[in-house]
Every structure is written in structure tokens, then in C-alpha cells.
Amino acid sequence: MTGPHAFSQKHLLGMEHLTAGEITTVLDLGEHFLEIALRPIKKVPTLRGKTVINLFLEPSTRTRTSFEIAAKRLSADGVNFSASASSTTKGETLIDTATNLDAMSPDIVVIRHAQAGSPYLLTKHIKAAVVNAGDGQHEHPTQALLDASTIRAHKGKIEGLTVVICGDIDHSRVARSNIFALRKLGAKVRVAGPRSLLPLGIESLGVEAFDRIEPALDGADVVMMLRIQLERKAGGRFPNTREYARLFGLSPRRLALAKPDAIVMHPGPINRGVEISPEVADGPRSVILDQVARGVAIRMAVLYLLGGGSEALE
């Protein structure tokens, strides 16, 4: 990467290994790309001639769509390779799938996979730049970047803020990536949820852990609710969704414990009436749809930086 952008990574595997400066670079670039969505012609030629493969080996609609739109708006050629149509169900290994795709000379491979570390495995076997679009319960870096972008836009800064992440922390790649990113950017991070969903040693990541949501919300600037996997009750870690909503759901009454100007976030898709009440999700302090909008811009920034976009930004 040449020019003013301080970003020296070949891949985007996680927030753990980015510097605060690199994160800020992505956020600043994201602000620039955000404006493109407002144009009548939502396309710039920056990555013309580049190929981006979305290798989605775990079901995902919104993240894949967001990456796809991001690639298209940069004029890159985007190709989707998803689990249902994939050869991985025929017994081909991930490495074989990846090297076959790599033989078609893509510039960037965006991978979503159910198991932690899979993007790392990819980097050892292919030449293309790798973007982690979620690996198991490990990391989901572009989600953390778009969350940071949203917080910064609404609060004017990130340093010094108190951010509460509520829900299934243990299974959440969103939580891990946000913890790494927000701590690097100087925020105070609290995690809250049923004790059975708080992973052992979470404090070692520099966060304060709460097993009730109320004390965690006290004085918070940002409240980030996580999705509960309804179908699996998060592996039997709590009795049922009714009790979960009663004890850990974000209701207007609970939200009142946070600062009066606190914002409410959710990575989606939301379970209305479970982890978040409809009044809060649709209320004036919810920035959930802004997160989605910024997701496209942030992913454009990531593809731009890794794709070696050399065209001058207009």
C-alpha cells in the first residue's frame, strides 16, 4: 500500500493483530466510501479488473450480500461460492477447494467458515489476500470495524466511552472482534450475560464481566446486544427464551439505566422480543440500520486496502 493509508496487512484475519492506527485508517476510508451510496450512480472504478471470491461455507445472507455490494461498487468482479453449491459437501478438503479457486487467480478471497482458524489455514495455501468474514466463534473483523465506524459517527469518538456487550459472549465472534478493536481504540468494555454464556478467562481480554445486565448498563454510552441462537438455546446454556428475555432482554426500562444519549446496536439478525424488545429495536436510540449501511462502506474500505486499489479516490 502506498500513499497516506497506514495499513500494512496482506490479509484481514482478525482485529487482534491490527494496530489502532490501522483500524483508524479503515474507519477513515469507510467514511469516504459511505458517500458513494448516496450517489445516483453508486459505483467507482477503483478495483476494476480485480476478482473477489466470496467463499461462504456457512450459511449467511446479509454478510455475503454486504461484501457482494461492496465489491460491485468498487467495480471488482465478485463471484459467490457458497456451501450449498460447494464441493466441500462432496468430501473435498478446504485446502483443495481454496487452491482450486486460487488457480483462477482471484485477488481477494472472503471466507466465512464455521470453525475458528480456517482463514489462517487458507493464507498458508493460497496467494490471494484473505478476508475473514467470520470464523466459528473466533473473529468477525469487518463487523467490529463497522461497529466502530457507527460508534465513532454517533459519539464523535471512541476513546473513553463505556461499551456494554450483552448476551452469548462465549459463542460470539462479534464479541471477540469488538473487544479487541474497542480496547485498542481506548474504550472501556463490559460484557454481560448469563454466567453460563461468559467464557472462562474473558477478563484476560481486558474487559469487565457482569452476570446481570443491570449493573453493566449503568452509565453506558453504547449498548450492543448479541443474537441468541434460538434454535439451539445456545447449547442448553439457559432455560428458555422466555426467561432469557425477562432476565437479559433489553427493554426500555433497562435501557434507562444507561446514559440518556446511549446508542443501541445489534449485529443482526435480531430476535424481536428475545434479546431486544421491539420498542428498543425500533426506537430513537437504535442505530442498527446505520450499522448495516456502514457495513458496505467498511467492506469497500477493506477490499480497497487489500486489493491494492491504485486508482485515485474521487
Binding site: T93, L94, A116, G117, L121, D135, G136, L200, G201
Partner: protein, 430 residues
């Protein structure tokens, strides 16, 4: 076979409380004399052992040789060649072969193949239950008659408490020791990493140390009930160590073992998602490693074993959570344990005891001592020589070691089995 005189080495024979400079004379496949200033008989080969250790042949009571059934990973020929190169004169073959060693015919096959192609002694271990399913007892009596020296469902835990109770009772009647792979599989849920701060950071599914220790705790109560001899395989965590230490104080007939990798690597090694670090039980926290080191030194842990578990790239060049558990260890065990000697965690004599005398005693095997008259199983160790671990050069058919590139010190120079040279390190050319 020629007679051999080891001259001027440091003779370490913990079974006889000996650690002194002496000569060792091997005649007709047996230890003839251990004294200073021995003259070489006519025709004997003289091996200058100054600066080297002459010890009773190392015994690995926990090896996976993969034959029958998975010869693409290892077989008795390659596995015993790796053992000899690692300084081992005897290995115990765990029964999770394909089919498992739960019947006399499989035991007999292993014994026969070992006689045909084995470089070192091979002692089969039979299954506790048929098919390692944890339901019906295997034919332990016939397995024993055919040559099995212990029973274990290694790789699988006997979960049902009633089955475990009856297995202990039945084995006791036969004079067989029961070796348990301690893992509460509900708690572990096949978690590929140790549950703690590292797994939380790197996002790998994980299992708590308690998945191991709850089974150890239960089994110790069953040992108290049955009076059977019980051995805990690959102890890896502080809680198991504490339970076993207490049980020994109570006088229960319990012994246990630890692997070199649980003594030298922590769960931090998994942070790069190197599938060669995936092993069961998983690599544990630094506190657990400190606890097993302490237990090795104070004798709570009786034996060091390799848990040599060969896997091919088919099982290992995949996502971490899909990778097979296990790593090879026959050709690295000695050097890794010598790291503990250099760090003053364990004395040379204690190390030799854990790698030779103790496993022989636990299983009632010949060997484990250089007493005159004993079969001449001898390992000549250079405790200092530096080398770089390169799995590509191993004699094992598999390469799944996480220690590639590690700077090692110390290795076997020569391995003598019943007076025959099973392995001799070639001299550097020029």
C-alpha cells in the same frame, strides 16, 4: 551377536540406586558385569562412553503403532524403528487399531508381526471392552494369554461406572492393570482446545480440565471399592495430579503417566491453529504444566510415555476442529525430557526411573534395570549433543510433530535390545 563393553560412561540404574561412572559388559545378550576397570573379552566391541549415559533400555508404555488397519500412518516396522531411534527398547501397543485389539487373534497378529519386523520389544495392550464401546467386557483372559500386558480403551473413556467397576474387578482377578483414558465426553464434547483464557481469545471450542479430573475422581472411588490396580493415562492437569497424590497417600494401588508434550507445551501453542498441536487431552494452561512438572519430580507421576500417535496429512491438513487428535513422540521424547533435566526440574536418575524402571515395574515387564543377569536392554544417551528437530528425517511413517524446528539437546546414541543393536546413530561424515 558380539559382546559389547561400554567403557567409562555414567551408569544410571535407578532400580539399583546406582548413578556412577562404571563399565558395563554385555555378553550373550545379557548384562554380565557392571564395574569399573573391566577388561574387554576377546572379540568384544568396545564403545567409549565417556560423557555419555548408560541406562536401562527406555520403555514406552503408551504407543500407537497403527497396525493392523492404519498402516498408511505407521506400522510395527516403522513404529519400532522410530522407537529404537528414540532410545526405546520396548513399547506397549495401544489397542485402538482397526479392528481394535479386543480379541486373541489381533493380539497374536501384533505379536507375530513384532517378531518378524519389530526392531524393539512390543507388548500389546488389550481392550477393556469389546470394540472399545464401553459396554461389554473384552475377553481379557484370552488377551492376557496371547500376550497382552494390560487393558485399556485408550482414546475412549469407560464412561459407565458399573462397567468400569466390573472391569476393575475382573482385571484384578487376572492380575491385569486397567489403564483409563480419563475424559467425561459430555463435558469435553470433543472440544479441540483446553478451556481457559487462550481458547477464549482464539475462539476454539474447548474442554475444561475437569473433563479429565471428574473421571479420575470417580475411578479412584471405584479403585477403593474394588482394590484393583489402576493407571491413569496421559495425566494433563493440576486437579488430576492432586487427586492421584491424595489417593497414593491413602494407599490406593494407583499409578499414572504424563507425556513430554504436556510437560513442555502450553495451550498457547494452539494459537497459530497448527493442527499438530491438536492432541487429546489438549495442551493445558501454564499452571497445569507447572503442576504436572512438580508431580513428575515428586513421584506422583510414575512414568513418562510418548502417546506416539501417528496421523497422515489426510487427518491433519484440515481445519483445526476437524483434525485428528495426536502427535508423534518416539523420536522427540528423550530430548524434551532432557530439557527438564537441564532446567533442574528432575534429576537424571529420576528421569531414567520414569522412562524405564517405573513403566517396567507397573506392567511387570522384564527390563528397567542393568542388574547382572538381566536381558541386555541398554540405551546409550548423549545428554548434550545439539540438534534441530526435523520431522522429515524421522523413522516414523508420519510427520505430525509440533516440534519441527525446535533446538534440541541430547539424543540416543545406541539402542541395544537383548544385546542386539536395534539402532546406532551414524557418525557424521568427515
Amino acid at each position: 551377536m558380539a559382546d559389547v563393553l561400554f567403557r567409562g560412561g555414567r551408569v544410571i540404574d535407578p532400580a539399583r540406586n546406582l548413578d556412577a561412572s562404571a563399565d558395563v559388559l554385555v555378553q550373550n545378550g545379557r548384562i554380565a558385569r557392571v564395574e569399573s576397570g573391566l577388561a574387554a573379552p576377546a572379540g568384544a566391541r568396545i564403545i567409549e562412553a565417556k560423557g555419555l549415559w548408560v541406562v536401562p533400555g527406555l520403555v514406552d508404555m503408551h504407543t500407537h503403532l497403527r497396525e493392523p488397519g492404519q498402516e498408511y500412518k505407521e506400522d510395527i516396522e516403522t513404529g519400532t524403528a522410530a522407537a529404537a531411534a528414540g532410545g526405546f527398547c520396548a513399547v506397549c501397543a495401544m489397542p485402538n487399531t482397526v479392528p481394535p485389539n479386543d480379541t486373541r487373534a489381533v493380539t497374536e497378529l501384533i505379536v507375530r508381526r513384532a517378531a518378524e519386523v519389530g526392531k524393539v520389544r512390543v507388548y500389546p495392550i488389550g481392550c477393556i471392552t469389546q470394540g472399545q464401546k464401553g459396554e461389554n467386557l473384552a475377553e481379557m483372559g484370552e488377551l492376557q494369554e496371547a500376550g497382552c500386558v494390560a487393558v485399556s480403551d485408550d482414546g475412549k473413556c469407560v464412561r459407565n461406572s458399573e462397567v468400569m467397576r466390573r472391569a476393575l474387578e475382573y482385571a484384578r482377578g487376572l492380575g491385569l492393570i486397567v489403564i483409563q483414558h480419563s475424559e467425561d465426553t459430555d463435558l469435553s464434547a470433543n472440544g479441540p482446545a483446553h478451556e481457559g483464557a487462550i481458547s477464549t481469545r482464539i475462539g476454539l471450542r474447548s474442554q475444561p480440565a475437569a473433563a479429565e479430573s471428574v473421571i479420575v475422581a470417580r475411578d479412584l472411588e471405584l479403585v477403593a471399592l474394588t482394590g484393583a490396580r489402576y493407571h491413569v493415562a496421559h495425566v494433563s492437569c493440576a486437579e488430576s495430579v492432586r487427586l492421584i497424590r491424595d489417593a497414593k497417600r491413602r494407599g490406593l494401588p494407583v499409578t499414572c503417566e504424563v507425556t513430554p508434550h504436556h510437560l513442555t507445551l502450553t495451550d498457547e501453542a494452539c494459537a497459530t491453529y497448527d493442527t499438530n498441536t491438536r492432541v487429546n487431552p489438549p495442551l493445558r494452561s501454564a499452571a497445569d504444566v507447572a503442576a504436572v512438572r512438580e508431580a513428575l519430580a515428586d513421584g506422583t507421576i510414575d512414568a513418562v510415555v510418548t502417546d506416539h500417535a501417528p496421523h497422515s496429512p489426510v487427518e491433519k491438513d484440515v481445519e483445526f476442529e476437524q483434525a485428528a487428535s495426536g502427535m508423534i513422540g518416539l523420536e522427540t521424547a528423550l530430548a524434551l525430557c532432557l530439557e527438564l533435566v537441564r532446567a533442574n526440574i528432575i534429576t537424571p536418575a529420576a528421569l531414567v526411573a520414569r522412562m524405564s524402571a517405573a513403566p517396567a515395574r507397573i506392567l511387570g515387564l522384564p527390563g528397567g534395570s542393568l542388574a547382572p543377569g538381566a536381558a541386555a536392554d541398554v540405551t546409550l544417551i548423549d545428554p548434550q549433543v545439539g540438534w534441530t528437530c526435523d520431522p522429515a528425517r524421522f523413522r516414523s511413517r508420519s510427520r505430525n510433530s509440533p516440534f519441527g524446528g525446535r533446538a534440541m539437546h541430547g539424543q540416543a546414541r545406541l539402542t541395544l535390545v537383548a544385546g542386539n543393536i536395534a539402532y546406532e546413530k551414524e557418525k557424521p561424515v568427515g
